[in-house]
């Protein structure tokens, strides 16, 4: 039987409140935990955006030609986009042949990117002026040449704008993927919560936020670089 005053030193220390941030932990775990989590996160996001782009480019090009397919495609991808991520991960995990790991995470992240990417591919191609295409046709370019040499290069800034939105979204959602074994920065957040160790949570959350903001700014720079005509107009 010990009274509440029984273990004074420890209890008194705990009454001071948990330390919010432990720099010692950060320097001790930088190379074996924090950096691998960051790398895993970047890899997971990069792979997902790349796969999504490989699906969205051809789909977007096809849909911009066969206009009737556009509303159903946006409807389906819009539905996919509105499924909350934790629910999507959980549903994928329960499917036979998938289970825990990075697979359900990548599948869900790809599905989430499709709406924005396809929409921007189509909007990019639509933004090419009819006169420009007429001029290309007049120069004797085949439809295939027009697509690759005129339409896609001119659509590129809009497509990159879509990649930018998709990347930022995916970096955020990937943190939740750690709950079903996807790894990455979410691991730090979840273990921090379950061990009641705020430092882990703060490191994971702040790095994920910084990663999203840096990716956003980098892709914005790419987008501006690809729009030389807009730069000239401003100058």
């Amino acid at each position: 039987m010990s009274s509440p005053a029984g273990g004074p030193p420890l209890a008194a220390l705990q009454d001071l409140g948990p330390r919010l941030f432990d720099w010692g932990w950060v320097s001790n775990n930088l190379t074996d935990e924090i950096i691998p989590a960051l790398q895993g996160h970047i890899f997971l996001s990069f792979v997902s955006v790349t796969i999504a782009l490989l699906i969205s480019l051809p789909t977007g090009i096809l849909v911009s030609r066969y206009r009737k397919a556009y509303p159903p495609v946006t409807f389906v991808t819009g539905l996919l986009f509105s499924i909350p991520s934790l629910a999507a991960f959980a549903l994928l995990v329960s499917l036979p042949g998938i289970g825990l790991g990075w697979q359900p995470v990548v599948i869900a992240l790809v599905a989430y990117s499709l709406l924005v990417l396809i929409r921007n591919v189509v909007a990019g191609i639509d933004s090419v002026p009819e006169e420009t295409k007429d001029a290309a046709r007049g120069m004797g370019l085949t439809p295939r040449q027009i697509l690759f040499k005129v339409e896609l290069p001119l659509a590129l800034p809009v497509i990159v704008a879509g990649v930018r939105i998709a990347t930022v979204t995916i970096i955020g959602i990937a943190t939740i993927g750690a709950y079903v074994g996807g790894g990455g920065l979410g691991d730090l957040i979840f273990t921090g919560i379950s061990r009641n160790f705020p430092t882990r949570v703060i490191v994971g959350a702040v790095l994920a936020t910084l990663l999203a903001i840096i990716a956003d700014l980098l892709l914005l720079a790419v987008e501006r670089y690809l729009r030389p005509w807009a730069r000239e107009r401003r100058a």
Partner: protein, 217 residues
């Protein structure tokens, strides 16, 4: 299939659903109550409007799990910390859309209104707000869908909601609970998306629809 329906009969199902809806609705309402006055106060000055929009953009880049997780060391576990986090998540989309929508109203239209002798308040209520309404409602819709989805994550900081069922299903390896919980959340999010889409169309002034049709969009 029968097992799946048993999930909806669970004692905790209805209460988790109610907590989920309560978290989302209250967070969205507070979010609107914070974002709209800021947008209204800043949109007339290009500088402050840009500050509001850029702050909103940075806010949108912050992962939802990060916001919930960062609130936990400061405010602890439970309903209120989750509500605070969800409110923070609700603000940026509304702020961005309200600011851009209000500041992009054609200046010539406003000049014309001024010429007709309308006061600032009349121009705001009669012209700027109605013209910006579709954009503002699109922001509220984005925000609502995001809040409903992120309320699922409240389970990790003890806020309750339907996320509890997903976590329970994963921990006990009970596919029925997992699938039942996930499907309910997905349906809730889709209902939110469709309802707010309808609201958006309802609040689009008829004149704008006519103009849009004329431009062939």
């Amino acid at each position: 299939m029968g097992e799946l329906f048993a999930v909806f009969g669970r004692d905790d199902f209805l209460s988790q659903l109610l907590v989920h809806v309560e978290l989302s609705v209250v967070a969205l309402l507070i979010g609107v109550a914070i974002a709209m006055p800021i947008a209204l106060a800043t949109f007339r000055s290009p500088f402050w409007a840009a500050v509001a929009i850029n702050t909103g953009n940075i806010g949108r880049a912050v992962p939802s799990l990060a916001i919930l997780a960062l609130v936990f060391p400061l405010l602890g576990f439970g309903f209120t910390p989750s509500l605070v986090a969800l409110t923070l998540l609700a603000i940026p989309p509304i702020l961005i859309n309200a600011s851009t929508g209000l500041s992009q109203v054609n200046p010539q239209v406003i000049d014309a209104a001024r010429g007709m002798g309308l006061s600032k308040g009349q121009i705001l209520r009669g012209i700027q707000l109605p013209i910006a309404a579709p954009v503002i409602f699109a922001g509220i819709r984005t925000s609502a869908v995001q809040v409903v989805a992120s309320a699922t994550l409240a389970t990790f900081v003890g806020g309750g909601g339907l996320g509890d069922l997903i976590v329970l299903g994963l921990q006990r390896n009970d596919p029925a609970v997992l699938v039942g919980g996930s499907l309910t959340i997905a349906v809730l999010a889709i209902i939110t998306e469709l309802t707010f889409g309808l609201l958006e169309r309802t609040f689009t002034p008829k004149g704008l629809l006519v103009a849009r049709k004329r431009r062939g969009k």
